[in-house]
């Protein structure tokens, strides 16, 4: 109605009315420009970071009482950490490892769930992701101040202890047991993914409409940004610094998790050894990849798969991801080529400030 009246004034009004209407209209326009531009700022964004699970947990929450929600999330993550860590004493996984080859131990719902998921991903990746890699992680000491290269003999001996099929889970009695003495489960490649999913559950319980959490780069985006646009998640440049990226994925309600040889590594006699061990060889995975990223609906899947495909290599990894519903991936090879799965062709933005990488759109 109002619009009609304005048109009326503009079309058939006398000269003064026209002029008056135009002036009023432009004032309205300019005020709305001011309102829109000033109104859309990040004043209702709550951002916090905390050192947890051996990394930085960053949360960005758009919601009232976001501080309390963030605190609840951090407490939950701390709880998961103390239950599943093997880097500190106590917790259920330490109990499981200590009782390896001896007896079944009672475990909580969380641990049983994560162990079961870990087994599933070991199966579908044909052992490329295997949480019983623990004895080798320990021998290499990649996460300690004094990493070393174990002897071939030592590695071959320890490899006998690596087999996800030795994780026996008894759901009826909520217990589990590792078959052989000396076996060690290390949930480092999956626990952060689980924690991110749990964080998202907490957001949803509180009715949060828009949030983002990063557990040391394991990212989950809840919905899109408050204006409805997707979150822009940079894919880490494996040869650049923290914060540098080779491309961007635009996502809503997705987990984005990267694995790479740059996360933890050490050099010995001019050779670079990274932390992602191949459960088949006992040595750092050497399949021509330097970085992999998984985009999926749940973070636990993305976390396990990003490691699995890193170990599998480009061809095998691509095959695995394409066989799974709702999962996409970005692969970065040692010769600095970037490959993405079909599902990402439209949402991946190749943006490499280092100008060292090449995006291979067609394979």
């Amino acid at each position: 109605m109002l619009v009609n009246k304005i048109w009326h004034c503009l079309l058939i009004g006398d000269y003064m009315t026209k002029r008056f209407t135009v002036i009023i209209l432009s004032i309205v326009l300019c005020t709305s420009v001011l309102f829109v531009s000033c109104g859309y700022n990040s004043s209702d964004l709550y951002e916090t970071q905390e050192f947890l699970m051996g990394t930085v947990v960053l949360q960005k929450i758009y919601h009232e009482n976001a501080a309390e929600i963030a605190k609840e999330v951090n407490d939950r993550i701390a709880e998961i950490e103390s239950t599943m860590t093997i880097n500190k004493p106590g917790g259920e996984i330490n109990l499981l490892n200590d009782a390896a080859g001896k007896e079944y131990v009672k475990l909580g719902e969380d641990t049983l769930y994560v162990l079961d998921k870990a087994k599933q991903y070991a199966e579908i990746s044909n052992g490329a992701f295997d949480v019983t890699i623990g004895p080798l992680v320990k021998a290499w000491g990649v996460f300690t101040d004094n990493p070393r290269v174990p002897s071939k003999n030592e590695i071959d001996e320890l490899l006998k202890l690596v087999n996800y099929k030795d994780i026996n889970i008894d759901f009826e009695n909520s217990t589990a047991m590792l078959a052989k003495e000396g076996q060690i489960v290390d949930l480092g490649g999956i626990a952060k993914g689980f924690a991110a999913d749990e964080a998202v559950e907490i957001y949803k319980e509180h009715g949060v409409k828009s949030a983002l959490i990063s557990l040391g780069g394991n990212i989950f985006t809840l919905s899109g940004k408050p204006d409805g646009s997707p979150w822009m998640v940079g894919i880490r440049n494996p040869r650049g610094n923290d914060g540098s990226y080779i491309g961007i994925v635009r996502v809503k309600d997705k987990a984005v998790v990267s694995s790479g040889d740059y996360e933890r590594f050490f050099e010995k006699d001019g050779v670079r050894y990274h932390h992602i061990l191949d459960p088949k060889t006992g040595y750092p995975a050497d399949t021509g990849l330097i970085g992999t990223t998984i985009i999926s609906d749940f973070s636990i899947d993305a976390d396990a798969l990003s490691t699995a495909v890193f170990v599998l290599g480009l061809e095998e990894g691509m095959k695995l991801v394409e066989s799974l519903d709702g999962v996409d991936a970005v692969f970065i090879t040692a010769d600095k080529k970037i490959y993405v799965t079909d599902g990402l062709k439209d949402t991946f933005i190749f943006k490499d400030e280092s100008k060292e990488f090449e995006y291979v759109e067609k394979r």
């Binding site: 300019c30 531009s37 101040d145 998640v233 933890r264």
Partner: protein, 126 residues
């Protein structure tokens, strides 16, 4: 046909639009909005907050704990200069210059960041 007065109106409208857009632009880049604020966090506590655009002489800040970090601040930028932690990832991160940039020393649980949002991405994986 446009009358002479119409040109005045057109001019007026144009000026109004230009003024309002520049006003918004200036507002967004003025005062505290334009200044880059760096924050140093140790063990989840904020220990220092610096307006790095107002730093004229280079400034060094020591952060000790399990390991030791030396943070260097110059006009408009901040970085980990030295660290005795094993991986030195923090030092290798180099200078932070833009809003949203962060550098972390995990072994010493120290973090520096420039407050605000980067314009291109909301977050980067690692």
């Amino acid at each position: 046909m446009l009358k002479k007065g119409d040109f005045f109106i057109l001019g007026f409208v144009l000026i109004l639009i230009i003024v309002s857009f520049t006003g918004v632009y200036l507002y967004k880049n003025s005062g505290s909005n334009a200044h880059k604020i760096a924050v140093i966090i140790k063990d989840n506590e904020e220990i220092k907050r610096i307006d790095i655009d107002n730093v004229n002489e280079p400034l060094e800040i020591s952060v000790s704990g399990e390991y030791n970090n030396i943070i260097l601040v110059e006009k408009g930028r901040i970085r980990f200069k030295e660290a005795d932690c094993p991986d030195r990832v923090c030092v290798n991160t180099g200078w932070l210059t833009g809003k949203g940039d962060t550098a972390v020393c995990l072994p010493n649980k120290t973090m520096i960041k420039i407050e605000g949002q980067s314009s291109d991405v909301d977050i980067v994986t690692y």
